[in-house]
């Protein structure tokens, strides 16, 4: 569903603005690291965070990535969370850290929080520019 013309926005280490819905219906937007695997957008968070709680309750999300080199070029992916899993989540977090901040930033100490991979199935894609 992600057009080839805008796939680079998910392949490059760009911030993905993740919109979720709070229990009271207000949207929440947070900057996230993201990647694309088997057609699903994946983000990584920790159990107990507000966005994790939001996505457990309401799977409808939206992800916006804007090209920092051209503000008019962006992709918005509206979709549904289809899987939240702790399996492989530490490794996924390490992969994202290496991509976004560099391999030297990957932590060596055990994590005190439980990381989860959130997989988002795109339902509607808006590509601009």
């Amino acid at each position: 569903m992600i057009p080839d013309s805008h796939r680079d926005l998910l392949d490059r280490p760009l911030l993905a603005m993740l919109g979720t819905i709070q229990p009271d219906g207000t949207p929440q937007v947070m900057p996230m690291w993201a990647d694309l695997a088997d057609g699903l957008i994946r983000v990584n968070t920790a159990i107990g965070r507000q966005k994790h709680a939001n996505m457990m309750k309401n799977p409808h999300v939206s992800v916006l990535i804007v090209d920092p080199d051209d503000d008019f070029r962006f992709i918005e992916v509206r979709g549904d969370v289809v899987l939240i899993t702790a399996e492989g989540a530490n490794e996924h977090a390490d992969k994202l850290i290496a991509e976004y901040r560099g391999p030297s930033h990957v932590p060596t100490a055990p994590r005190s929080e439980t990381r989860v991979i959130v997989s988002i199935q795109p339902r509607r894609v808006i590509a601009n520019g």
Partner: protein, 131 residues
């Protein structure tokens, strides 16, 4: 009513593309890039009448705006708020002002007779800062 702390107001004073989240009729969030500024305690955004975000803001007057520092992705402010005012009267003047901030021009270059510009004032209800 809440306010944006002084040490984060630069994220609205600088020409940073912010992310505006609204709620679609089916409950799905919509997130789009927009220009914004912060005036008299309100975040101002401007769109064209008839657009999906315009309809969303009129029908479900809650909005969340995220501004991230382009020089430091971990520094950001998220403003969750409610639509306090909708104005067609200030629509053209505000888009021209934003075009000045973001493009360095005096007049928004894409005015068309068919398009009505509309200004939304978002009153912050909760402000989250990081970094």
């Amino acid at each position: 009513m809440s306010r944006i702390p002084d040490n984060y107001q630069d994220l609205f004073d600088r020409p940073i593309i912010v992310s505006l989240a609204t709620v679609q009729p089916d409950g799905q969030p919509q997130v789009t890039p927009v220009w914004a500024d912060y005036v008299d305690g309100h975040v101002r955004i401007n769109t064209a009448a008839g657009r999906q975000k315009y309809k969303n803001l009129l029908e479900r007057p809650r909005a969340t705006i995220l501004a991230v520092d382009p020089d430091n992705g971990q520094r950001f402010v998220e403003v969750r708020g409610r639509v306090a005012e909708v104005s067609e009267e200030t629509g053209d003047a505000v888009i021209d002002k934003l075009a000045h901030d973001y493009l360095g021009v005096d007049v928004y270059p894409w005015h068309t007779p068919e398009e009505t510009r509309v200004t939304f004032l978002i009153e912050p209800v909760r402000v989250v800062t990081s970094g």
